[in-house]
Amino acid sequence: MQEKKGIIAAGLVIGILAVVLVQFGNPANMGICIACFLRDTVGGLGLHRAEVVQYIRPEIMGIVLGAFLMAKGKREYQGRGGSAPFTRFVLGMFVMIGALMFLGCPLRMVLRLGGGDLNALFGLVGFAVGILVGIQFLNRGFTLKRTYRMPAFEGYLFPALNLVLLILLVVAPSFIFFSSKPPGASHAPVLLSLVAGLIVGLLAQRTRLCMVGGIRDAVMFKDWYLLSGFIAILVAVLIGNLILGKFNLGFSGQPVAHTDGLWNFLGMALAGWGSVLLGGCPLRQLILAGEGNGDSVITVLGLAAGAAIAHNFGLASSAAGPTLNGRIAVVIGFVVVFLIAFFNRERSSDFGIKGGVNIDLSGDRR
């Protein structure tokens, strides 16, 4: 319990921030959503032209920069990368396509549950099933192989890119798109969003908060550490929404959501399976990207590309429900993720054990 205090406190703060952001203008049940906000940001850059979801979301930049600062301060920052980058990119793409079928990343799924949106229950069950399927492959030796040390500069580029995005948001040159209708037009003041993002980034870096990791570790190792953060977010959001009168229990009429249970389930199953193979949910990928992890940067770019594809090709759901194209894309996603999971297994004899303890480590590190 002692070691869980930190992550529970972090989860409570993040849940409160999510409610506050909605109170100050973010879309309902969308105080913080990594999938939605990457999608909006990609739209703001004009990489897709869905007019209602275009806005450079400063929460994303805050999270990345918060993680960067915390990692720097704690001497955990390290340029690294080289672990199956393009495979991670493709997984990121399909995690996003699954999330936009459901309409939210795993974090928003928790926020939707805390707002009384029962459609998110189908998402949650799908998410858990996707993780369980992924665990079967992890237990059979799935790996994207090791990462390597990279120049520190490699790791600085992504936080720097986020600074550039912030500048573009504030300067608002004419080539940046801003939705005039919700949900893209619904947003809290820039400074509040940025500061909230920074706090989320600092806390999530410190505690390693991860939605996918929560269920994965509980199932694989009976380790409830990460899951307790997930539950703390849910509790804080639930209480916050009840206090503010924003709790609305039911299936129909939920904000930025649809009622197709099967596809809510399948979308999050795809997102869960893909994320467990990636080693973390979209939030965790953003945090790692801020810590200098180039593999996570590639994953975030994959998520961004997935968002652009989802809106350019009409794959993303809307309040009206899923699209035919979206259903086809999710099915293709399952096939691709299966192939990635199947063909990246190592036999246990291939890795790990290096013999006795007396090996000379000094020669090992070059």
């Binding site: 090791r146 390693r208 570790d217 080693g279």
Partner: protein, 70 residues
């Protein structure tokens, strides 16, 4: 006591924990695990303590050497 050494450097989570778990099943008296980042160090240590092992940490340059023993 000679413990087998598990090299989990460069592996991202949860792989170091999976390698640790499998290695402890085969070597219940103890193992040495090498990891190269703080998260893996925390996760392997937490798993080992939950499984009833004592964890001794040595920092070796940028790497962590965790000795897990009963």
């Amino acid at each position: 006591m000679i413990y087998p050494v598990i090299d989990a450097r460069g592996r991202s989570c949860p792989e170091p924990v999976i390698l640790t778990k499998k290695a402890l099943e085969n070597n219940p008296e103890g193992i040495v695990v090498l990891v190269d980042n703080k998260t893996a160090h925390e996760n392997v240590s937490r798993f080992a303590r939950n499984a009833g092992y004592q964890v001794r940490l040595e920092q070796e340059g940028p790497d962590f050497r965790l000795t897990l023993a009963k």
